[in-house]
């Protein structure tokens, strides 16, 4: 799939609209799109929608040996993937630049800010620690991937429950979810990224750019902050020159947005926990609203399998028994020769032939060959009726055979038995001729 480039008129239109303070979707310059969070049935699985940008995050954990430089700390591994479904231009294995940049930003936001207490992930110092793996998949690209990914990442980490572990001396016991309730991760704070797009060399500023706006922007400023107004990372890319006032203004806007988003996250997490505790239904199926016309739900349906056995018996009795004939698949392209004849059963005959060859006497060998000939004709009759079935994909109307097998008039001394089937064939044909002569 090729990505379609943005046309010049579209570019001009967007820039002129931004100069007049208008955005394509009707937002104001500092407005964020709607954030909606839904959880799956597993712990640590969530889907975040930022407008139409959709991101899936999943957290999993594993016991591994720690890094030698930090023997008492757990490991957080973050992996962001741009799924080929997110946009037409994203092919697997061809997205290096954007992917590397996004991965690095997310890593800095979540790992370097130390939002997770990695010391609490240590089980046996120097030997076993928890490795927390966070996989983020972008499902639909409508701009501002980094914000959606950071929200999804932190929500998934807050939602995740790891198995409970107890250490008694040398023994480490990992409890299954049935034995002991899984334990949440210890999270210090929630860093959330907010993106700012700059246009016309920094004159105009838009918060949360959509995909079209991202294509025409000059530069991007990403600020990661938590609700305590601590800046976790700042990243400016695109080569724009920013003045101190602009950066301070952006950080103030970030503080406001982060407070709103953090409140939303807390509410969503609380709701989900309440539903799970009360034993209600949870998961992606429940987050699909019933009123949506594009969504349809069906309750558990019973399937009538009473006469399954009778149907099966009927089919088996009507079916033909499997044939003894070998079925060969040929590639169906140009063919040289008439196709192979099954000569695997003739191995013993071939050995006898070789022995006869070495003697080199026509009379003695003729007698032996007559014996073999009888066996051969029997076999030949068999092979005539049971010719191997050739199945091929060939779409050629006519099978054109190049170099059809000509009957070689060689004496047996000259035939090279190492050729296997061709010589065997020649041998049979010679025998046929001799029989005709008799």
């Amino acid at each position: 799939m090729k990505p379609s480039p943005i046309s010049n008129c579209e570019r001009r239109f967007l820039l002129r609209a931004i100069e007049e303070g208008k955005r394509l979707d009707g937002r104001q310059c500092y407005d964020y799109r709607n954030v909606s969070i839904s959880f799956g049935t597993e712990y640590g699985c969530c889907i975040v929608e930022l407008g139409k940008t959709r991101v899936l995050a999943q957290v999993s954990c594993e016991l591994v040996p720690p890094k030698p430089s930090r023997p008492t700390e757990g490991i957080l591994f973050v992996n962001l993937e741009l799924s080929p479904m997110a946009a037409p231009g994203l092919e697997p294995g061809r997205q290096s630049d954007l992917l590397v940049k996004l991965n690095r930003q997310i890593e800095r936001c979540l790992r370097n800010s130390r939002c997770i207490d990695t010391e609490s992930l240590c089980v046996v110092a120097g030997e076993k620690v928890w490795q927390i793996r966070l996989d983020i998949h972008l499902l639909n690209h409508d701009g501002n991937i980094i914000d959606a990914a950071s929200v999804a990442g932190i929500v998934a980490l807050c939602h995740f429950r790891r198995p409970d572990v107890s250490v008694q001396g040398e023994e480490v016991t990992v409890y299954t979810p049935e034995e002991r309730d899984p334990v949440p991760l210890s999270i210090h704070h929630m860093p959330i990224c907010v993106s700012f797009a700059f246009f016309q060399q920094g004159t105009y500023l838009l918060v949360d750019p959509s995909e079209r706006e991202e294509r025409v922007m000059d530069g991007l400023l990403v600020i990661a902050m938590n609700k305590h107004q601590e800046i976790c990372t700042i990243d400016s890319s695109g080569g724009i020159v920013l003045v101190k006032n602009q950066v301070l203004r952006c950080s103030k806007i970030t503080a406001v947005k982060v407070a709103e988003i953090t409140e939303l996250i807390q509410k969503a997490l609380e709701n989900d926990q309440k539903v799970r505790k009360e034993g209600g239904k949870f998961g992606f199926a429940e987050s699909i609203p019933n009123q949506k016309i594009t969504a349809f739900k069906m309750e558990s349906a019973a399937v009538d399998t009473n006469n399954v056995e009778e149907q099966a018996e009927e089919i088996i009795t009507k079916a033909d028994p499997p044939s003894e004939v070998p079925v060969l698949y040929t590639p169906g392209t140009a063919q040289i020769g008439e196709g192979i004849e099954n000569s695997w059963g003739d191995f013993e005959e071939l050995e006898k032939e070789e022995a006869a060859e070495e003697e080199g006497e026509d009379d003695a060998t003729a007698f032996e060959c007559q014996k073999m000939e009888i066996e051969d004709t029997n076999m030949m009759e068999e092979t005539k009726t049971d010719e191997p079935i050739l199945l091929s994909d060939s779409e050629e109307e006519e099978v054109v055979i190049l170099q059809p097998q000509e009957l070689p008039k060689k004496t047996r001394a000259q035939t090279n038995l190492k050729q296997g089937s061709t010589s065997k064939k020649a041998f049979i044909k010679r025998r046929k001729k001799k029989r005709a002569a008799h």
Binding site: S83, G283, F284, K297, M298, A301, A302, V303, V308
Partner: protein, 240 residues
């Protein structure tokens, strides 16, 4: 029958459970499909998208096509179909590749590729949750995605998974635990025109009779699934 006579409003949940239990016993134990849900057109960038949920197993399918094919991928007489399946955790491995091939062969059997020569159709599937019967959920999501994208199809198809227990009983649409306890797991893709088998993938040992029984059960379950397709599409286009 006595339960039906009881007043529904009072013990609604028990009444529903009792009806379901009756239906289960009538249909043969365990022959029950989990609750299905489907959402169409939920992604804005792909040409067609569908999320299919079977109980807790859910798969999101997205389609791009027919679009211009890359140089070496284009076929001169029909559309080139490419299937990508992405797991939720980790990188795609050999299991995903083999499922991709099964899906591709099933889709190629129904897709009228000859109407779009030298074009490419890309089907991308993302696993949102795996709780048993993943391959059949992928098949169902793929078919709904093809419908949503409006690609020309010779017929629809659906996926059904059967699990055979060591005692010989048959379970349709098994959960993860039922799959682990089963001695054989069979997945069939059934087409909508004549309920024929388009694809079969099996794991474990079973006899020929058992396999035919599973096929018959899958064909019977396919009726329910095709009715579900019909109802969701009808709902989708009820206001146009």
């Amino acid at each position: 029958m006595g339960e039906r006579a009881a007043a529904p409003p009072a013990g609604r949940h028990q009444w529903e459970a009792a009806v379901l239990q009756e239906a289960k016993m009538a249909a043969g134990s365990g022959c029950c499909l989990r609750p299905f849900s489907c959402e169409l057109g939920l992604l804005s960038r792909p040409d067609g998208s569908a999320a299919f949920l079977q109980g807790d197993t859910s798969v999101l399918a997205a389609l791009y096509g027919p679009a211009e094919a890359k140089g070496n991928r284009e076929l001169p007489e029909r559309a080139a179909l490419e299937v990508l399946l992405r797991p939720k955790v980790g990188l795609p491995g050999v299991g995903e590749r083999s499922r991709e091939q099964l899906l591709r062969q099933t889709c190629e059997a129904v897709l009228l590729g000859r109407l779009h020569p030298r074009c490419s159709v890309s089907l991308v599937l993302q696993v949102l949750g795996d709780s048993g019967s993943l391959l059949s959920c992928c098949l169902n999501a793929a078919c709904m995605g093809l419908l949503d994208a409006g690609l020309p199809l010779a017929s629809l198809f659906c996926g059904v998974t059967c699990a055979l227990h060591p005692d010989g009983s048959l379970v349709l649409d098994p959960s993860t635990r039922q799959e682990q306890e089963a001695r054989a797991l069979l997945t069939f893709a059934i087409d909508s025109a004549e309920r024929k088998v388009l694809m079969a993938s099996t794991k474990g040992t079973c006899s020929v009779e058992e396999m035919q029984q599973c096929i018959a059960a899958a064909q019977s379950a396919a009726d329910t699934i095709f009715q579900f397709y019909r109802d969701s599409i009808r709902r989708r286009y009820s206001k146009s």
